[in-house]
């Protein structure tokens, strides 16, 4: 059908355009442009990747359909899986805005003047998060909650020039693994702090007994991985500060509709997984690493990540600029506060849209709805012979439940009934094989919850 047509998305790859370009360049064979490459390195043929041919959009669609049809989506009811990544409402407008080509296809706004809109959106993200956690400085995102914790620990090491970090014994196990990986090069020491068997809360006594002048930071998760909301946070902050250590809090963003914000109880650094704020599930990625710091020159100078600040243009208009770039790798290189450059900016924009849509009152209503629903499930479970929650403490959206038998078997039965149950805790602790971690959110109706409880009560009896 005539002369060659261009390859997908390479507009000038047709024979016609290629020969035009080559003749302007005065060469006759494109491989002259590879003349400096050792000959024996050049592959004889194209690599065997893809499906052995060029696929049109339509063929791609049909191909993908074959894969996707093998996935099962749990939507009615949505998953009850906990583990720090829960199904939440993503208002359609959020997706719509972050699909706008001017946001979606922009690079990091190195040219401020032509990307003011993006920068304002990121500044608004930073500002909204700052007001949510009540800390003054927020960066434009880390990769996810776990790397935000890792970066917080690295920052604490830099700030204090110490090497010990106190972490809860029952710290999110996947976070712990990530943090250990990131700290591998730093000769740091993670010291576990016991938790109270009854309440699931960090033991203040144990914490105080372990903190010393070598301690760079005290880290708590609030709520804890197993769901307990910490009560003694001010005392922990005090303990840390008394020894010159930083107090680092990992929080859950929606919970701050109901819970006191970390900035109010002494956090120096607050980090979170921002996925609940409009990112969706996406099988675990992208996430949004929230990173907030107290207003303190010493701390701010050691922060990782990109920050957008307010400024003015040459005619005095309000404008936005990337600030404090001398902390960053492209300027400071091996002395940078972090190596991060590509981050999760678009998810930060999503969070800004999300929080704007909710407003403060909306966030409170949302947190209340979640609180009620998770408590409703716990209560209903108790009625059918499941210990829920396992711990005597306040909880918000996730909590653990203990069953009369191995949870895994129950999980399989639930799946047969179209329900994706909780997260079996034997994934992390073999001794907790009768327990699972549930997550209940605003997407779980009473009917969904009742359906789960009825299925469980049926399965337990079997």
């Amino acid at each position: 059908m005539g002369s060659s047509r261009p390859i997908h998305w390479a507009p000038s790859s047709s024979d016609r355009d290629r020969s035009r370009a080559l003749s302007v360049m005065g060469i006759s064979d494109v491989f002259e442009l590879y003349r400096d490459v050792p000959h024996n390195l050049i592959l004889d043929e194209p690599p065997r990747v893809g499906f052995g041919k060029i696929l049109s959009e339509w063929e791609l669609r049909l191909t993908v359909e074959k894969f996707l049809s093998k996935n099962t989506v749990y939507i009615d009811p949505p998953p009850f899986l906990g583990g720090g990544w829960c199904p939440h409402l993503v208002p359609a407008l959020v997706d719509y805005i972050i699909s706008r080509p001017e946001f979606l296809t922009a690079y990091t706004p190195y040219q401020a003047e032509i990307n003011q809109g993006l920068m304002q959106a990121l500044f608004e993200y930073q500002s909204l998060i700052a007001d949510l956690v009540e800390l003054d400085v927020v960066n434009a995102s880390m990769y996810d909650g776990s790397t935000a914790v890792a970066e917080a620990f690295l920052m604490a090491l830099r700030v204090t020039k110490r090497r010990k970090i106190l972490v809860p014994e029952h710290m999110h196990p996947e976070y712990r693994r990530v943090v250990e990986t990131w700290l591998y090069g730093k000769n740091a020491l993670l010291v576990p702090v016991k938790y109270d068997e009854h309440t699931g809360r960090v033991s203040l006594d144990d914490l105080e007994s372990k903190i010393d002048n070598e301690t760079a930071a005290v880290y708590v998760e609030n709520p804890s991985f197993l769901g307990s909301i910490e009560e003694d946070v001010e005392a922990m902050a005090d303990a840390a500060h008394k020894k010159g250590a930083l107090f680092i809090v990992k929080f859950e963003p929606i919970s701050l509709g109901l819970l006191k914000p970390p900035g109010r109880y002494g956090a120096d650094i607050a980090v979170a997984e921002g996925q609940p704020l409009g990112s969706g599930l996406n099988y675990g990625g992208p996430g949004l690493g929230i990173f907030a710091v107290r207003w303190d020159r010493k701390l701010v100078r050691q922060m990782p990540g990109r920050i957008i600040g307010l400024t003015r243009d040459a005619e005095g208009r309000r404008a936005f600029a990337m600030i404090l770039q001398t902390r960053e790798q492209h300027i400071r290189r091996e002395k940078a506060t972090s190596n991060i450059t590509t981050n999760e900016a678009l998810m930060a924009v999503a969070a800004a849209v999300y929080l704007t849509l909710l407003g403060g009152r909306g966030l409170r209503d949302l947190a209340q709805s979640i609180w009620l629903r998770s408590h409703y499930l716990a209560k209903r479970l108790s009625e059918v012979g499941v210990k829920a929650p396992v711990f005597e403490s306040e909880f918000f959206k996730e909590f653990t439940a203990r069953f009369p038998k191995q949870y895994k078997a129950i999980h399989v039965e639930l799946k047969k009934r179209g329900i994706l149950g909780g997260l079996s805790l034997d994934r992390y602790w073999p001794e907790k094989s009768n327990e699972c971690l549930f997550c209940v959110t605003e997407l779980h109706s009473m009917k969904h919850i009742d359906k789960l409880v009825e299925a469980i009560s049926e399965v337990i009896k079997q």
Partner: protein, 513 residues
């Protein structure tokens, strides 16, 4: 009516901050199952109460859906991406992002999957990731890849940690990482984060790594070399096999920064060059959009013994069942939770699936044609020069210098960049690599048609012409963007630096000075 002369100006909305128009009582969302609340409250029989709870409502401004839509739509009109015009930021590989990918990843069978749901319920997705892993291993000439790293820099950190652990496991104390002076800032930063001392290797006048200098620093403390090939100058390291042999012979490892793979993809493989570990940037080479800074997706791949060190889990197949293998004997651990940035990874899958090996190779060739076509157009332009052996073909990108222009007119590379904005064109990467004065680093990728490249070259020439006749005018740029030149001093000065609205208000109230 004939066509008008080209005038461009960006939208300007003077859009207020959401704080200036919002109100915590406003909302744009109706929460699900609101009608259940009274019944729930009754059944639960309690309410959130006690010292952990706040009394007040978070002080966050809310807006209705229509107001929120307008606010962000207006902000979007004051932004600029590849879908609006060329963004030839060197080293960033700003490709056009095919819209079919966006449509596909919106499918709930991707979007609404929970990362911890049972593997038998996500076999289709796992199969796609498995194929992606196999393809990327093939493209790099590596044995296995981990999809876990959320971006290139995280891949570098993973690689550096793998090198560290490898040497430690072999009882060696190697604490020096060699990094060329032309390297991207993330390379030394990553090496330092992994606890290495960074040893800077100079670039020779040929634009390649200075082999003598390299030899002079390699030794028993050398853990490895982090290299991108082609370099950030767009020049292929023609002595790469010698370099690799030298490092290996002295007990070091080779890390490949894959951010610059585009021009050689499908033609030459890092594995064949002798690299042990490779990272790739899915959001560059494989066309996932940058999203104004992210999310991206990285992969880190390894060969031979190093495979054991890759971050876990790895995607694997067993009797047509796909699963995540967490087994970790020597591995460095995990770079983030779960499996990676799935959405951009799937876009990478779709990109490779659409093009196949042949298509990818053509893409690489086209990107190199585009670079060299541009060089031909700009080569003898007054005001610019091409440092480091102009006779050498460049690959994915080229670095030109505006040093003559600065010397002769006082107009800097930064001024040229701003002047480009006034033509509706995004500027190149400026002042990088650091070894080139007044650097303008330009990467068109295969996405730009010849016409855009011509327009870009012509505009650069026009700006230079104007610099020679009226330099003050050039220094006034930009005038067509939504704001005029932004005041970086004010932005960063300790007395005025304002990272959030919260700080802005505190400054107004005199609480921060």
């Amino acid at each position: 009516m004939s066509a008008s002369k080209k005038e461009w100006r960006q939208a300007r909305w003077s859009e207020p901050l959401v704080y200036e128009i919002g109100d915590p009582q406003k909302t744009g969302v109706i929460l699900p199952y609101l009608d259940e609340l009274p019944k729930l409250a009754e059944r639960v029989g309690a309410r959130p109460q006690g010292k952990v709870f706040r009394e007040d409502t978070p002080d966050l401004p809310g807006l209705s859906e229509v107001e929120t839509a307008r606010h962000f739509n207006r902000l979007a009109q004051m932004s600029y991406g590849v879908d609006v015009g060329p963004v030839p930021l060197g080293s960033c590989t700003m490709k056009y992002n095919p819209k079919i990918f966006e449509e596909i990843v919106r499918d709930p069978r991707i979007k609404f999957l929970h990362p911890l749901q049972d593997e038998d319920t996500v076999q289709g997705l796992l199969e796609m990731l498995y194929l992606l892993e196999r393809w990327l291993a093939e493209l790099t000439g590596m044995d296995r890849c981990s999809l876990q790293v959320p971006a290139g820099a995280a891949g570098e950190l993973a690689g550096a940690l793998m090198i560290k652990k490898y040497h430690a496991d072999h009882g060696e104390e190697r604490d020096e990482m060699l990094v060329p002076d032309s390297a991207h800032g993330t390379n030394p930063a990553s090496a330092a984060m992994a606890g290495f001392k960074v040893v800077r290797i100079p670039t020779s006048s040929r634009g390649t790594i200075d082999l003598d200098a390299l030899i002079s620093v390699v030794g028993p403390r050398t853990a490895g070399l982090m290299l991108t090939n082609p370099s950030t100058l767009g020049i292929f390291e023609d002595k790469i096999l010698e370099v690799a042999k030298y490092i290996h012979d002295s007990g070091g490892l080779l890390y490949y920064d894959g951010a610059n793979l585009n021009g050689i993809m499908g033609i030459v493989r890092p594995g064949d060059m002798g690299f042990d570990i490779v990272h790739l940037n899915i959001h560059k080479t494989f066309a996932a959009p940058h999203g104004g800074g992210g999310p991206g997706a990285g992969v880190v791949c390894a060969k031979g013994d190093l495979v054991d060190y890759l971050p876990r889990p790895l995607i694997e197949r067993d009797d047509n069942r796909y699963f995540w293998n967490y087994s970790c004997d020597k591995c460095i651990g995990s770079m983030r939770i779960f499996y990676g940035n799935i959405v951009p990874l799937i876009k990478g899958f779709l990109y490779i699936a659409s093009l196949g090996g042949k298509g990818l190779r053509e893409v690489a060739i086209q990107s190199v044609i585009n670079t060299n076509y541009f060089i031909t157009l700009i080569k003898n332009a007054k005001g610019y020069e091409l440092p480091y052996d102009p006779s050498k073909p460049r690959k994915h990108e080229v670095v030109i210098s505006a040093k003559p222009l600065l010397n002769e007119t006082g107009v800097s590379a930064g001024d040229v960049a701003k002047a480009l904005l006034d033509h509706g064109l995004h500027a190149p990467t400026m002042y990088f690599p650091l070894i080139v004065d007044e650097a303008l680093m330009i990467e068109f990728t295969e996405s730009e048609p010849l016409e855009t490249i011509e327009e870009y070259a012509n505009t650069l020439k026009k700006i230079a012409e104007q610099a020679y006749t009226n330099p003050g005018k050039v220094k006034e740029a930009p005038t067509s963007t939504s704001v005029r030149r932004v005041d970086d001093v004010y932005a960063n000065h300790p007395k005025t630096v304002t990272p959030t609205y919260r700080v802005y208000l505190k400054r107004l109230r005199g609480e921060i000075k």
